[in-house]
């Protein structure tokens, strides 16, 4: 299109400006992890490793991290199985109510977080009459993680087509053998991408988690939330935040390496 050089330059400036601004708050957090001032006044007037030492010694943060990893691992495993089954059913067969099932998978993530949270909270406490615990978080997380695995696997199945599977069946392989030796290997990177997303989603979730966490079930986001407002703990929270920022580079790096294999992010 014939845009004047000026408007091109304005658009470029705006784009790079906003994208740079997106990273400013994160960089401030990184810088503040060595800021000697406990109330994190800007600019820092020195460098200290005190907060990093305190964070390394913080048993609460460590336990919360382990809890979060456990929850995310189990929720991811569940959603990998359920999401793959669902994607196979919806992509390879047509049946009555297919659209409804499709909608149902998206619903937990499409509805506002508080709705999913209170629905599950009420379901556990009011209807089933069970006490909230750690497993109730896992159930909640698996429910909204299914969609990420489902999306990735379904996209891959659509692109794969059925000819290889048909060839395998024609050569005499049974249904399960075909799945194990032909379908599954082709799904590998889609499962990796979907699983990675599910893990990240669960590891980071806070809204539904606050509604489904029992007493003493402290995931890392809950720990951060509880400690953020304590003046003497805030710098430690800041260090944990930096660690999480560093962690979040891993999936980006992995996705780049798999780039030709990975179908978008959501």
């Amino acid at each position: 299109m014939t845009l004047s050089p000026l408007s091109r330059r304005v658009l470029a400036g705006l784009t790079f400006g906003v994208l740079a601004l997106i990273y400013v708050p994160l960089l401030v957090v990184v810088a503040n992890s060595v800021n000697p001032s406990q109330s994190m006044t800007w600019p820092p007037d020195g460098v200290t490793l005190e907060w990093w030492r305190r964070a390394a010694d913080s048993a609460g943060a460590r336990e919360a991290l382990v809890t979060s990893l456990q929850v995310a691992a189990v929720a991811t495993a569940l959603s990998l199985v359920l999401g793959t089954l669902l994607a196979l059913a919806l992509q390879r067969y047509s049946f009555f109510g297919k659209n409804a099932v499709n909608l149902l998978v998206i619903l937990p993530i499409a509805l506002p977080g508080v709705v999913t949270g209170i629905a599950l909270n009420n379901g556990f406490k009011g209807i089933l009459g069970v006490d909230l615990a750690l497993w109730t978080i896992v159930v909640a997380h698996a429910t909204f993680c299914i969609v990420t695995v489902f999306n990735n696997v379904q996209a891959r199945l659509r692109r794969m087509g059925t000819s290889l599977e048909e060839a395998s069946a024609d050569l005499g392989a049974g249904v399960l053998t075909t799945f194990r030796l032909v379908t599954l290997p082709q799904l590998r990177s889609a499962l990796l991408a979907g699983g990675m997303l599910a893990f990240a989603l669960s590891f980071d979730e806070i809204i539904v988690t606050t509604f489904t966490a029992g007493q003493g079930a402290t995931t890392l986001p809950i720990w951060i939330l509880n400690n953020m407002f304590r003046p003497n703990q805030a710098p430690v929270v800041n260090v944990v935040a930096v660690v999480l920022i560093i962690f979040s580079i891993i999936p980006v790096w992995l996705a780049q390496r798999l780039s030709s294999d990975v179908e978008g992010v959501r």
Binding site: M1, S4, S7, L11, A12, L14, T15, V18, L19, I22, V24, P25, L26, V29, N32, T41, L82, L85, L86, A89, Y93, V101, L104, A110, L111, P112, G113, V115, G117, I118, A119, N121, N122, G123, K125, G126, I127, A142, T143, I146, A169, D170, G172, G174, T177, F203, D204, I206, I207, T210, F211, I224, L225, N238, A241, I245, S248, I249, V252, V265
Partner: protein, 307 residues
């Protein structure tokens, strides 16, 4: 063709290409699976469908029913007689109306700001930047999606704090309040708005824009009458994301919102400390109804068809 099919190797059992006549290669269970499509389908569907129905659909239905119950004020047990009292409370009590409008206002402001920022960025990424720069920009937009939500809210709490970066730059911090909530939420959901708009812009062929230019349309007119109509589905998708995500969020307002409350806070307090699950359920119906109304209205315009 006939020569190969009559070769002796094809007559042997186990080598025939017709699955129904297959010999000892596939085990009986597998043969049954192969023939019974419905059996395969129900084996695939039963586990995930049972999970979604038992965990989620039942929970949503129960939420609706619970909103029609009440809590005995003396024993604080749930009284399971049907009543519209909760909804009457929502209508009559000033607090709920104020908080509802505040929540909708914040969600609307965040959506408008995000769409306004996302449009030029998505346009630059899809139509002006070179392929190499475009790939770089997509990564730059995607990367913050992986950063923890709480870390992002926390970072704004730090930036907007007294004596923080915002004060230092001389712009001045608005302090913790609704403005801070809007800034933070717009920041967090921006990538979710850029991506669908970028995706729908990428599908607009460049030749279409060149043709319009060749026919003498000034670039403002090309934008208005060609680019924008083709972008509507992407904008709608992004707007729904940011609106729904903001409406369902109550953590940000806790962290940077000062004493303000959103609908989610009222739901949380009633489900927990106030021990009034039925009222919490009734409050949760507000965002559900808003989303339903919004989606139906948008569906009427046809913008959802090509999502």
């Amino acid at each position: 063709m006939s020569a190969t099919s009559s070769s002796p190797s094809d007559i042997r059992p186990g080598r025939t290409t017709d699955p129904a006549l297959r010999g000892p290669v596939a085990r009986p269970g597998s043969r049954l699976l192969h023939r019974m499509v419905w059996l395969r389908l129900s084996l695939l569907l039963s586990a995930p469908l049972a999970w979604m129905l038992l965990v989620y659909v039942v929970a949503l239905a129960a939420l609706l029913i619970t909103s029609l119950w009440s809590v005995d004020s003396l024993t604080s047990e749930i009284d399971r007689t049907w009543t519209f009292d909760n909804f009457r409370t929502l209508l009559d009590n000033e607090v709920y109306r104020t908080v509802t409008f505040r929540t909708l206002g914040v969600a609307l402001a965040v959506t408008v700001i995000d769409v306004a920022i996302a449009l030029p960025i998505a346009f630059y990424m899809a139509k002006i930047a070179s392929p190499r720069v475009r790939r770089m920009l997509v990564v730059a937009v995607l990367t913050p999606l992986w950063a923890s939500y709480l870390v992002k809210v926390f970072s704004w709490r730090v930036v907007l704090s007294e004596g923080g970066l915002a004060d230092w730059t001389g712009l001045g911090s608005p302090g913790y309040g609704l403005t801070a909530v809007i800034i933070t939420q717009a920041y967090i959901w921006l990538p979710y708005v850029i991506l669908p708009i970028f995706a729908s812009l990428e599908r607009v062929p460049d030749s279409l824009l060149e043709a319009a230019g060749d026919l003498g349309a000034p670039s403002g007119m090309v934008m208005r009458s060609i680019v924008f109509p083709l972008l509507v589905p992407g904008i709608v998708a992004g707007a729904i994301f940011s609106f729904s995500l903001t409406m369902g969020d109550y953590i940000t307002v806790n962290i940077v919102g000062g004493a303000n409350q959103m609908l989610g806070n009222l739901v949380y307090i009633n489900a927990g400390a106030a021990n009034n699950l039925p009222l919490a359920a009734a409050i949760a119906m507000i965002p559900i109804v808003v989303m339903l109304v919004l989606l139906t209205a948008i569906r009427r315009t046809g913008a959802l068809d090509n999502l």
